[in-house]
Symmetry: C2
Subunit: 255 residues, 2 copies
């Protein structure tokens, strides 16, 4: 089982869209995929149908004194082979208080160990904060996928994210490769072109040579709560995510 | 002095852009304005020039045991009448540990009391997390401005934000009016039209009757670290923000 963490503390850069697109593409190949929503805002859970009901159960329940088994919290996404461990608003309180009890990292790695035999890929969608939830997701991950909107404001936080990834590599004694993915690229705007050029200059081999274009069908899939690989398999955005998937699985980058 | 809090826990919806646009428009009228950046990601500080230098000083320093006076932390923005109290990455640690010592709310209200005689308007830019920093900003505010991208994923968190605002009203015994601002509106896309219609239906009188359009000059202003009201005074985006400013100052809404 591989664990891919999708993270960037800048808000609105396409983390959830990237997590859902990759998860649904791998499930469409016939693999068994679990998407875990670590964002108290629960965008991924709403998109894949995990957030319904008055008091949804999910990741925050893993912190209760008598935590249920992870399998009791899983939901179907409506797409074959893709299940969801949803987030709930209560997760915001966990971020503030949970660390003391038994540590976020421990809870997440126990949950991942429990599901490991049943899935080929786990995708972790992170909140837009460099906090406990994101750090424990990075600590558990085999790969960090960092969607980066091709916008001037989105460049600043990347250096901080990469420093955090290096810190985790050192403390766990295992590499954490980083793959930077330019998202929501609109080649007609000057600001986007400039940002993309800066991104490639500063981060060179860690940045994908292509980019995810702006594609309104990705938004429509989120409105219709559908897995993009099913709803719009041939749309520009999904085709680009399929090429990204090939790169993420491909040859290791020059270090 | 009025205190306007710009908040929404959904990421990338235009909080920083709204805070900078409104602050620079009011300063351009000749008023004295202070923009406070409460986001550890520090987008506003980078945009208005407050984040330079190896170890920038700012909001996180207010939590030190011998905190400096606020005036020692202020920076000029390059736009007449507009100053910045910048954020730093260390603020992320404050969000996790600061509450215990003397409480975020206390620190922020002390800082605001110190600056009150010197400014006509303070604008607070919040991080995309319903955490301690956002809650203390709401607790200090006279008005909550909630930018909401006209995108399906941006609708979910609004109910949670409004519940939190009501909770604060009850606990402080003072009204906290909410003004919902549709942002980044692209009238050509179906998903945007649908989201705008839902927003107006669900939140009626709290939602501005107009919307902020997509305008690449707002992005260019952030790339060039310029105050939008100066750099692109006649652009679609800035003209729309000037109309928004009139509405925010206008007659109270039907409760
Ligand atoms: N390639 C794309 N083309 C068009 N719209 C997109 C694309 N990628 C994402 N979006 C839209 O942009 C908005 C932000 O995307 P998304 O919510 O995935 O970002 P995020 O980084 O997960 O945000 P948050 O910081 O709140 O977690 C959403 O409304 C989404 O539908
Ligand atoms: N009206 C607009 N037209 C075009 N681009 C815009 C508009 N408003 C904001 N943007 C761009 O969209 C991106 C997100 O905006 P911004 O950073 O202001 O959102 P935010 O809510 O503050 O994000 P965060 O959640 O990270 O704090 C930025 O790159 C910004 O330049
Ligand atoms: Mg998200
Ligand atoms: Mg912001």
């Amino acid at each position: 089982m591989s664990i891919w963490c999708v993270a960037n503390q800048k808000g609105g850069v396409g983390k959830t869209t990237t997590a859902v697109a990759l998860a649904s593409l791998v499930a469409a190949e016939g693999k068994r995929v679990l998407a875990i929503d670590l964002d108290p805002h629960a965008s991924l859970s709403h998109w894949l149908g995990g957030a319904e009901g008055p008091e949804p159960r999910g990741v925050a329940d893993l912190f209760a004194d008598a935590a249920p088994p992870v399998s009791a919290l899983l939901r179907d996404s409506g797409a074959a082979g893709l299940q969801v461990l949803p987030a709930q608003p209560a997760l915001a309180t966990v971020e503030r208080h949970g660390v003391g009890k038994q540590g976020m990292g421990l809870v997440l790695s126990r949950a991942l160990a429990e599901v490991a035999p049943h899935y080929d890929l786990v995708v972790l969608d992170c909140p837009p904060t460099l906090g406990v939830l994101m750090v424990s997701a990075l600590a558990a991950a085999d790969l960090l996928v960092a969607p980066t909107q091709t916008e001037p404001l989105a460049l600043h936080g990347l250096a901080g994210l990469l420093r955090t990834a290096q810190m985790i590599e050192r403390s766990r004694g295992r590499a954490l490769p980083v793959r930077i993915v330019p998202t929501m690229y609109d080649k007609r705007t000057r600001a986007a072109q400039d940002t993309l050029a800066t991104l490639r200059e500063r981060y060179a081999a860690s940045v994908w040579e292509e980019e995810i274009p702006v594609d309104t069908r990705l938004r429509e899939a989120s409105r219709d709560a559908q897995a993009p690989a099913l709803a719009h398999a041939l749309s520009r955005g999904v085709v680009a995510y399929a090429r990204l998937l090939a790169w993420l699985r491909g040859a290791p980058l020059p270090e």
